[in-house]
């Protein structure tokens, strides 16, 4: 309920902006590495600098996503989330084991102490920034939430693409983020007119496995318990 409510209010806010839009344009960003291989889960944010028109409507796909970071098999899913300021995120526990989800990040400090199933509350992220989320029980569990101030926020798919539609014409700053990025990304200025733009950006991240639970030595021992 609370989540729906929050999403609705976001929609209302966005609609207000979008309503002013006369004509919209589209942007497709492909993030690749040095070998031109697509990189997934890269957060892409378009920060409006000078808009020529009002946003027509807030129908960003991302904004409408259901924000949930669940714990399945002692792994936060998804690993990376991008939410706009004010979003609420639910942390349902699908495992049998309890989790103790916490964040000491500046953007949001919270703690959901040992629980099973769905926690009593969702967590609202009111401040832009990056929130590192961990589990006190399972040190290897990690997740990141990118709290962005812009409504045009997304993350690349497995093919390294994120698309924005119905964008008001104007000038934007393009920002990219990934927890494993090797250098801080230098924001790029992008000017959008009525035409849909496809851009490709080369990004450097460290190649790593996503956090996953280690082989549990005790698994057999505690089979019955699990």
């Amino acid at each position: 309920m609370k989540t729906k409510l929050a999403i609705k209010s976001l929609y209302v806010g966005l609609l207000g902006v979008i309503g002013l839009a006369v004509k919209a344009s589209g942007l497709s960003v492909t993030v690749v590495d040095a070998q031109q291989q697509p990189i997934a889960d890269v957060v892409v944010e378009l920060l409006p600098e000078k808009l020529d028109e009002q946003p027509a409507q807030a129908d960003s796909n991302l904004s409408q996503d259901f924000h949930e970071i669940g714990q399945k098999n002692r792994t936060f899913v998804p690993f990376i989330s991008a939410v706009t300021v004010g979003s609420e995120v639910d942390f349902p526990n699908y495992d049998k084991t309890r989790h103790h989800v916490y964040s000491f990040s500046e953007a949001k400090t919270f703690e959901l102490k040992l629980y099973v199933g769905r926690p009593d509350t969702t967590i609202r992220f009111n401040k832009a920034g990056i929130v590192a989320i961990g589990c006190n029980i399972h040190d290897y569990m990690q997740a990141y939430i990118y709290v962005g101030g812009s409504p045009w926020l997304g993350k690349t798919t497995a093919s390294g693409v994120v698309s924005f539609e119905e964008l008001p014409k104007g000038t934007y700053q393009l920002n990219l983020w990934h927890p494993w990025q090797l250098d801080s990304f230098e924001q790029q200025q992008i000017v959008l007119d009525s035409e849909t733009k496809d851009i490709s950006i080369t990004f450097h991240i460290e190649e790593k496995e996503k956090p996953s639970p280690p082989d549990n030595k005790w698994q057999d021992l505690f089979k019955d318990i699990q």
Partner: protein, 777 residues
């Protein structure tokens, strides 16, 4: 150097043994030493590995302990919320729990947030510099680092919330206790060394300055070139072994080392033990060797000592048997000694024989004679006869020495052939023989030996007749010594020589006369010097002019003790003793001096001097005369030599030769005592004399003896016919003088004018005589 055989043998044994023993000991000890060293090296290497493993275990413990801290949610929360008081207490609490010596908290940018004890920011910068990769990796790691100049093992662990928000470093001092733990296991001394700048901090189980010095010398700037060599095995000055490992990472500027140490004493312990053992073995063997050497030496020296004793007995002339010796070489020596003994005895006999026998004749020699005479002396009775061959020298000269020896041998043979065995026969000197017995052998000598000796001796197919003189002496109780006995016999012999008898018995008193003669002979020289011997001059008067123109110098001797000694006596003694030349020299020199003195006073006289047979025949005399003439440079015509007829006849040729030389010098020669000898007219013809002196025996009795007057008259005529002047001696009466004048005699001398006078008196007399012509027609 060592001279004895034993000493040499011992030395040889000891040397040989020492060489072998020392050689083998050296080799063994060297091997042991190398083995020990290898073992020790191995042990420090292994020890070093054990240390490293121990440190790894420790590191694992510390790491997990540190990880427990950083995993603590409360701690994470405190870090994330920068709750400093909580952080500090949590760290303090935890570090105490795990016994950490140092705590360091770094933020995500590796900057120091907190440290205890205080670590400076620069130090922290240095610490993280070498570990960037580990930090980036984001998991706990450990480093061995020098912090605040001390060696530390430090574990860094990330504080994850869930991303890394901070690093916690827990430092553990690598101190003596840590080193001690490894020492407990390895038994080796262990240490940690922190090198910062030129300082080396050592935390070690052993306080050994040389180690510290070793490390400090390695970091001192001027020896940086050697820094490579610090790792691994090194040998310190005193042979201590040190194995150094680097605990810090190679890129680290402040180095952290560990070392394992074995002192030379401990690793050389077995080597020393073995060496001592070898030394005892060596000493033992040395004693045995010396014992063997002594025993061997004795084996040799015992028979040698036997031989030495044997040789000593030979030396003493004792008879003994040669010792039995087993050793071949020494047995040879023994038999040689035996042979030597025999040879020595034989030669000894020869020597004894030679010592007591005359080589030429085989008769007893003088030594043996003395021995025999000694026995006679003890008995107090016996007869000594000394025989002498008449004119043996002349015989030798005429038939040669070899034949002379044959004569001596023949005589010896006759002595032994004629006389019984109990008569002792000896040859005393060249032609002098002695026969003696303890009974009267005079009869035996006279009746048997003498006739046998008188028989001719056959030499080279010609008969040589030999005559002997003999002096006989009967032993009596007055004979005190052997010399006395021989002298008495000799005196008798001398007498026999001068007499016509073949043999003369010694008579009492002869010996006393002999002693007087010896005394006279002894004082010749001093008498010439002290004036007891002096000259008198007898004038020779020219019978025609009645002037004294010549004088005869006569030698006189007035001794303080013996009184007047007649010239006949002492001239004969001077001739016998060989003093005659000195006497003649003295006389001639005195005469020359006198002539010079007189010449200075205007008295010009010819002075004549009597020359003996020895002088005339002595060739050296001529030179003396010549040198005297030259020395005083007088006219030789002032000098005249009177030579008796008998002198000329003893060796006419040599006498004539000498007289010719004197004549050539300018000295006139007079024949003295004419008429007493047996001079032949043919010799008289050859003699270069200018004067003939008629013996006074013909003149003294002139008045009464018609024969004498005839002899003198004839002699004067004879002399004149040979061109010689005639001097008559013994003019004692006026009538005699007148008679001589009528005979035509040229000069006269005698008591009628004056007896012989001392120089001064003569001078006075002469002056007076020549001024008053006493002669009357």
């Amino acid at each position: 150097m060592i001279k004895s055989y034993r000493g040499k043998l011992i030395l040889l044994m000891v040397l040989a043994l020492s060489l072998v023993q020392l050689g083998s000991s050296f080799a063994t000890l060297q091997v042991i030493r190398n083995l020990s060293e290898e073992q020790a090296s191995q042990s420090v290497k292994v020890g070093s590995k054990i240390l490293r493993e121990g440190l790894e275990q420790k590191e694992a413990q510390y790491r997990s302990a540190t990880q427990v801290l950083v995993s603590d949610f409360g701690f994470k929360s405190a870090i994330a919320t920068e709750d400093r008081p909580t952080i500090a207490t949590a760290l303090e609490n935890h570090s105490r729990r795990i016994n950490a010596d140092l705590v360091l908290l770094l933020n995500n940018s590796l900057e120091r947030l907190l440290s205890a004890p205080v670590v400076s920011a620069q130090e922290v910068e240095r610490l993280v510099e070498g570990s960037q990769d580990f930090y980036r990796n984001g998991s706990a790691f450990s480093r061995n680092l020098v912090i605040n100049e001390e060696p530390y093992m430090i574990v860094f662990a990330p504080v994850k919330a869930p991303t890394t928000v901070a690093w916690v470093g827990m430092g553990f001092l690598l101190d003596k206790d840590v080193a001690e733990e490894t020492k407990q296991i390895t038994g080796l001394d262990v240490g940690f060394v922190a090198m910062s700048g030129s300082r080396a901090t050592l935390n070690t189980t052993i306080d050994e300055p040389s180690i510290e010095h070793y490390f400090e010398s390695q970091v001192s700037p001027h020896e940086q070139g050697q820094q490579q060599s610090i790792l691994g095995l090194s040998r310190l000055e005193s042979d201590d072994l040190l194995f150094v490992s680097e605990l810090s990472s190679p890129t680290e500027s402040a180095k952290l080392y560990s070392f394992m140490y074995v002192s030379s004493n401990s690793w050389l312990k077995r080597y020393y033990e073995l060496r001592n053992y070898q030394l005892w073995v060596f000493l033992g063997a040395l004693l045995v060797a010396i014992g063997v050497a002594i025993w061997l030496a004795k084996e040799v020296s015992r028979p040698v000592e036997k031989l030495v004793r044997f040789a000593r007995r030979i030396g003493k002339g004792e008879s003994s048997k040669a010792p039995q010796v087993k050793t071949k070489e020494l047995s040879l020596l023994s038999s040689t000694l035996q042979q030597m003994n025999v040879d020595i005895k034989q030669r000894q006999e020869e020597i004894v024989y030679n010592n007591t026998h005359d080589m030429l004749t085989g008769l007893a020699n003088r030594n043996a004679a003395e021995q025999y005479l000694k026995r006679l002396l003890d008995k107090g009775r016996g007869t000594l006869i000394i025989l002498n061959i008449k004119k043996f020298r002349l015989i030798n000269d005429s038939i040669g020495y070899a034949n002379g020896d044959l004569i001596l041998k023949a005589i010896a043979k006759r002595l032994t052939g004629t006389l019984p065995k109990d008569v002792f026969k000896a040859r005393l000197a060249s032609d002098e023989f002695l026969i003696a017995a303890d009974y009267d052998i005079c009869k035996l000598f006279a009746e048997q030996l003498l006739p046998a000796l008188q028989q001719g001796i056959n030499i080279d197919d010609s008969q040589v007749n030999v005559y002997v003189n003999a002096g006989v002496y009967y032993l009596n109780n007055r004979s005190q010594t052997i010399n006395d006995m021989l002298r008495c016999a000799d005196i008798a012999l001398s007498k026999a020589k001068r007499s016509a008898d073949s043999f003369v018995l010694y008579q009492q008193g002869q010996d006393e006369n002999y002693q007087r003669q010896l005394h006279i002979i002894g004082i010749f020289e001093e008498s010439m010097a002290d004036g007891s011997m002096y000259l008198e001059y007898q004038p020779k008067v020219n019978l025609n002019s009645g002037q004294c123109t010549e004088a005869e110098a006569l030698l006189r001797w007035q001794d303080k003790e013996l009184g007047f000694i007649s010239p006949e006596e002492f001239i004969q003694l001077a001739e016998l003793s060989g003093n005659i030349r000195a006497v003649t020299n003295w006389v001639i020199e005195e005469v020359i001096k006198q002539i010079i003195l007189w010449q200075a006073k205007g008295l010009s006289l010819r002075v004549s001097v009597n020359i003996s047979v020895d002088d005339l025949l002595d060739k050296g005399f001529r030179f003396i005369v010549r040198s005297l003439l030259e020395k005083y440079s007088i006219n030789p015509r002032c000098l005249s030599f009177e030579i008796t007829e008998s002198v000329i006849m003893s060796d006419p040729e040599l006498a004539v030769e000498s007289m010719n030389i004197f004549k050539d010098l300018g000295i006139s020669i007079a024949i003295d005592d004419f008429g007493t000898g047996y001079s032949s007219l043919s010799y008289l013809k050859k003699v270069p004399a200018s004067e003939l002196k008629i013996d006074k025996s013909f003149v003294i009795d002139f008045d009464n003896n018609e024969e004498d007057r005839m002899i003198v008259e004839t002699s004067v005529e004879l002399a004149h016919s040979f061109g010689m002047k005639v001097v008559a001696e013994g003019v004692e009466t006026e009538s005699c003088l007148q008679q001589l004048k009528t005979f035509g005699c040229d000069l006269g001398q005698g008591y009628f004018f004056t007896r012989a006078l001392r120089a001064n008196d003569f001078e006075a007399w002469c002056e007076k005589f020549n001024s008053n012509t006493v002669l009357t027609d």
